[in-house]
């Protein structure tokens, strides 16, 4: 399991990385944490001709609050994001989700942006990005653009990024209302495995306990993280009672397109993702009322 030969360069800046990408053509790849790319290369399922290492670029790392958004630079280590008080205060849903990503050692290398670019349908960070309508910033030699989470995930393992683009920043909207709660639930075979099915939810209640804002998305049961618009609509304006949640989630099976694999068939994912959604919404409600 040795990678096919390739050239390697370390980029000192985002612009240098982008220039190198533009010059090298489609066979070049950026490497951030490498926790997915390196195994794929070892198995020769990925064989870039050039690896452009963006790990050392200072401007790609950092966590801050930028107005109404939590701003995470793309190369921020998952471990740093998980340990960050800024993330926990601004976006505790992400903190919770990060605790499910791999394990200590892979989080020490793996980056927040890398997980998004990889776009595994079961991955936790893309699910949170989709749930909260995060906004991605991408740069290329030609310039910079932003991409909404709704447009970012094209298909399993495929994003809207062009081959010559580098994801630089992710902005997660901050919900500032006090009565906001979140929930993240996933089912995996072993503790650190990819989710067979996952759901994330964030809800705000008004003082009377009525849900005024609810975002729910699922992962692992569709090619991309999928927002459950009909569920959000059905539950907004309710008290998020168990019965209401159960009723609203009854039709989830029709909203997802699960794939089967060696770990779980499509029917399993279809059934279980509903349960995950119910649990995530209930957790969000409980968090909002506590």
């Amino acid at each position: 399991m040795k990678a096919a030969p390739f050239d390697y360069m370390r980029a000192a800046s985002i612009d240098e990385a982008c220039r190198a990408l533009a010059e090298a053509g489609d066979d070049a790849r950026l490497i951030a944490g490498g926790q997915t790319l390196v195994p794929l290369m070892a198995m020769r399922m990925a064989r870039p001709s050039l690896l452009i290492d963006i790990n050392g670029i200072a401007e790609l790392s950092g966590i801050s609050v930028d107005g109404d958004h939590l701003l995470i630079k793309a190369c921020t280590r998952q471990a740093d994001a998980l340990a960050s008080d800024i993330v926990r205060d601004a976006c505790p849903l992400l903190t919770d989700a990060l605790s499910h990503v791999g394990h200590t050692q892979t989080r020490n290398r793996g980056t927040v942006g890398g997980s998004l670019c990889n776009a595994d349908p079961s991955a936790e960070i893309p699910l949170v990005a989709r749930t909260l309508d995060a906004v991605m910033t991408a740069r290329s030699a030609a310039g910079e653009r932003t991409i909404a989470a709704a447009d970012f995930f094209d298909f399993a393992m495929t994003t809207a990024l062009e081959p010559n683009e580098c994801l630089t920043e992710i902005r997660f909207p901050i919900w500032r209302d006090a009565a906001t709660g979140y929930g993240f639930h996933e089912v995996s075979i072993r503790d650190s495995d990819f989710a067979l099915a996952a759901a994330a939810a964030q809800a705000t209640l008004d003082p009377s306990g009525t849900c005024v804002r609810l975002n729910v998305a699922i992962g692992g049961a569709s090619p991309t993280p999928t927002r459950l618009g009909p569920v959000e609509d059905a539950l907004t304006g309710t008290d998020l009672s168990d019965n209401a949640i159960e009723a609203a989630c009854a039709g989830i099976a029709a909203l997802v397109e699960p794939q089967g694999d060696v770990h779980a068939d499509a029917d399993y994912r279809r059934r279980v993702v509903r349960v995950m959604a119910i649990r995530a919404i209930a957790s969000a409600r409980n968090g909002a009322t506590s």
Partner: protein, 795 residues
Amino acid sequence: MDGDFKFVGKKRRVKEDRRFVTGRGRYAADLRLPGMLHVAMVSSPYACAEIRSVDAGAALAMPGVRYVLTGDELFDHINPLLSGLDLPNVKRVPLARGRARYAGEWVCAVVAESRAIAEDAAELVEIDYGMLDYVIDPEEAIEPEAPLVHPEHGSNVLFDKTWTWGNVDGDFAASAHSVKYRARWSRCSTIPIETFAVTASWDPGREVLDVWASIQMPKYPEQIARGLRMPVNAVNVHFDIDVGGSYGLKRGIRQTIIVGYLSRKLRAPVRFIEDRLENLAGGEMHGPDRIFDIEMAYDDDATIRSIRIHATDDAGCYPGRAPLQLGKPVSAIVGPYRIASAQYRAMSVTTNKTSQEAVRGFGQAPTNFAIETGIDRIARALKLDRDEVRRRNLVRADEFPWRIPSGSEYDSGDYHTVLDKVMKAAGWDDLLAKRDALRAEGKLAGLGLSTCLEPSGGNSSFEPLFNPKNDTTTWMEACLIKVDMLGGVTATINTSTSGQGHETLVSVAVGETLGIDPDRIRAIHAESLDALPSNSPVGSRMAIMLGGAAAGAAKKIKQKAMEIAAHNFQLPVDRLVYDGGDVHVEGNPDRRMTWLEIVDIAHRRYHDMPLGSEPGLQANFTWEVPTGGALPAEDGTVQMYPCYAFEAHIPLVAIDRDTGQVEILDYYIGHDCGTVINPDIVRGMTLGGIAHGIGAALYEKFEYDRETGQLMAGSFMDYLLPSSHEVPPVEIVKHSTPSPLTEFGQKGSGESGYLGAPAGIASAVNDALEPLGLHLDTLPMRVRDIEKLINGREQ
């Protein structure tokens, strides 16, 4: 009993561990030789295909590439590998020849100056394949129209024989009830973290092939020599290589033949370290894959009178020793129970899957699971407690030695006491209350119980039983002890070690016998050219056999020391007392000859030696397995395995009814392997065995796609090993019923835990499912299987 010993059974640090905690273990992959070449395999992408041609031109043209070996070339220069069964028309070969018979089978070996280059070149070897029909499912394989895996053999059935021991039909007719069920043990194995690694180096000056390998296999040097058509005394296996786990599996004879051939051909050291993809698909490290159809006959009082077992085992493609894994369970075919008669149909089937290899327990863990499934069913049918049904059928302590219908005699045991002890320690009633409290909260919870045997000592009489042409009845182990001129004691181990702590075992056995602190004794691994016979650490035999051989050699040393002292005291030996190396006159401890004086006489002062005696102080002892040495009788009864260890498992599980996830909340095991030589080693083996059992019960399966014939679990992303999150803390409740057949009363423990854990967890899961009227008798019980059983029908 343990208290009678000075060193046996006492807490003692494990000698081997010091090098492991400092990163100084010496594994096969750590070896560096000048000019060493590296191998990568070209694997068949097809489940079955004719190999029409191989074009290695582009590969050979790459800089750094030295050779591309094909199956045809290799076949012309070697003997086919040994098979456990009498199958003259099934040729087991290291590289596919003419036909690739499973996806992932190695077709060519590419040799290059680095492993990376070898992989680059492997991609360039062009093979013209003609796809052929294949069969993946063992029950489909025995249908008349099934594609033949080995057309020359004429059938996909490799072995099919039925033994009837006792009056099975009569016992069934006389019983009030019977239960009939199918239990399925899926293809999994105890896959180690180190893959198989081997380096061979032909020395044309000495005319010796040196081999360093991560091996655990009987008669490895002999098999290399036979395969390569060399004298055995031209092969030197370095048994001092640390093996990174094996649990039965590390039997890389194909790999060794390939590098051995290449090293002689290319006149260079050649190394092959399987990468994980090669290992899981082509390394032939898959374990038993077994369907059990079982009937048990029993009375109203739960007395089980008879059992019929039909085991169909999928050996995969090439039957090495794998089919014999149907044979070992004959040694405990009725479990720990007083079942009067038994019928056993053992059927080995070949399919287009990777070959099965020996796995911890050699077929006993699946059989124990299958038998225990029936015991629980009888309890359910009679509305009796599961422990009560067992109590009524377990062999009683005063009945040993107990002969079972298939001919083996269980040496000793106290099953009822062990069961009582573990149930008491676990708080069985409290666990039931905890289970019921969980159920009251609406959860699924279940308490499991299994009571199983670990046959140990490696009296492998299944070999002649399964192959009458094989009249092997010798399963020996040896030890050479040398006392050097300054009194130091060095003892040999004549095989490699894969974590069992043999150096510690030998030094304790020798130290106990000689009365010398084991920390002062050195145990070394011989090279095969100067090694005494060994049958390697298989069949849970080393505590018994190597321990016995070491003690036997030490006794000879002790005897000789006594004789030297007797000569110098001018007294008969029976007037002397051996005292920790020193010898003194009985009743007069001051009239003493020290160990150093005796050693000095032996090495330097022949004039003080008894007349005509052998100079020096060294001895070897080779021991045949107790109860070994007999061929099977006409009726198929045979004594296998001298010693029988017992274990009783009690796990409590909770199941998430929506997701099928199983959480093990509590785990207790009662364990009796007789006298324990090193408590930490036995404890570790038991805990590790349980972890293997948890994997087999809940997570691990070499899943194949029936349509494409492809292995779907070819990496650790898909073949799921339990981590620290999945293996719970376990409490072990010890008991010791010494074996009357062994030096210190020890029995085997190398397979402990694994032999009963899958049955115990299955019992717990089924207890949890019982309120829903459901049961599951297929392992592994994966989340999706459990969830589907609970919720799948609603769809």
